[in-house]
Symmetry: C2
Subunit: 312 residues, 2 copies
Amino acid sequence: MIAVFGHRNPDTDAIASALVYAHFLTRQGTEAQAYRLGELNFETSYVLRELGLEAPPLLPELPAGAEVALVDHNESAQSAGNLSELTVTRVVDHHKLGDLSTQTPAYLRFEPVGCTATILLKLFREAALSVEREDARLMLSAILSDTLHFRSPTTTADDRAAVDVLASLAGIEDVEAYALAMFAAKSDLGDTPASQLLKMDYKVFPFGEPAQQWGLGVIETTNPGYVFGRQAELLQAMTEAREAEGLSGVLLSVVDILNETNRTLVPGPAEQQVVQDAFGAEVTAQVADLGGRISRKKQIVPALETYFASRT
Amino acid sequence: MIAVFGHRNPDTDAIASALVYAHFLTRQGTEAQAYRLGELNFETSYVLRELGLEAPPLLPELPAGAEVALVDHNESAQSAGNLSELTVTRVVDHHKLGDLSTQTPAYLRFEPVGCTATILLKLFREAALSVEREDARLMLSAILSDTLHFRSPTTTADDRAAVDVLASLAGIEDVEAYALAMFAAKSDLGDTPASQLLKMDYKVFPFGEPAQQWGLGVIETTNPGYVFGRQAELLQAMTEAREAEGLSGVLLSVVDILNETNRTLVPGPAEQQVVQDAFGAEVTAQVADLGGRISRKKQIVPALETYFASRT
């Protein structure tokens, strides 16, 4: 039995791709079970609820040597706590390759596309395996989520082609309406505590040499007014996270999905300096206008890497 | 232009897969050029000569940031000297994942099969690209070489299936006769200096913690009598290599392809102790009988890893 899971602070791709890949492996004769490494966000809950599906269970502490498959991530900092003791035999991912190594030859499938599910659809086709309606909808949801329905600069022609195929297999005629419903669900944040809002889509990255650790959160929303209404709480949660986790800085980008803009919360003077220097951005009342930089992976992280590399 | 190359001390898979993958990429619209990281062995020279092909040129020192594709390897110790300065955008490999990382998302295609060329054939099929006769013969030769025409325990069902397809595409009717001609060419070592014989198929591996570096050479031959006729010279070359490269030990496995046996040269007491303890092998007159362990990757390296891990 292979345990299949996506990254911590799971998003729709991390959950959907774990479910679909576990299903794919099982149908191919390799028993597999999907897990999650954290709580679902509101978008993913919406996707599963609409499909009448339960969330995959939380990953238990696996015994050393247990066989695992990673989807939508490969770096140990984003994975199971005892990853180095586990046996990784399969990875399907669309991120850069980090600190992963394997004890024996494994199946690794990385492509520079917008979403893991885009690669999964290729696996089905290469194996000449039919795609069930439920899996099609999960993969479709993951791609719409990761690419913000093609608004993100991470979108590739492969993602667009996959959505065409999957929408038809999933029986979804108005793809943009479905995407907007997903985004609205994601934006309905209710009374979620600020500390949890910060961590919904949050990753820690090392920058420079010797490495500084930076926490980078993103809230993609169709309702940025709601988030900025809670600005004071969020800034405090960021300061607390910076101290509790021993980070050099924390940023929270509020991405307006419909207008494709990024206004980023800046909790202190260290973050302000970096944001000004790395992006040439104006900072007013602890908010930096990062313009159309809506992709952390493609626009925020590379700019910070370049900035910190130039200072070492 | 992407530079495509296999590992140092290239074997037939490292050369053939570089040529075929460069051809594949170019036909797919990504200009690519194959290179090699060292001298061809006699088997590979035979394969290219029979096809009327030139060897790919030696890899020049590439400028920092140059785009490269790795085939049949991924560890920096087996790659271009300045790999860390180069931009790896593609890897096709069948080895375990080592210390590779990438700056941006890349195409990585690893499968636990017997030969890189087996994976390349899948790429052609997935792209619905016809396989030209020359490429078919290169891939066929690589698989026969890496699997010793299915004698090696690294052989998988995928390798067998690929050989069936490729033999037909290459117009080779008697596959075993062609394999034996390749192995005979490989075994015709003439007056090659002993230091070169040692390095023909040679890799350095770290074992244990803190890591000891061990050099492991293999000579696959249909004529082991020739090799043992040069035993004294080879043992001396091994001792010299151990000292020159600051290694903890050097072993040279002489694999009798037709009888599927491995007799390994043991240059000193440190190596003798390890061979006795790790394999439970008899050592007589500086030769250890390792029985049917003919695969370095599948049988020699894992046993040494287990042995050194148990001592730390």
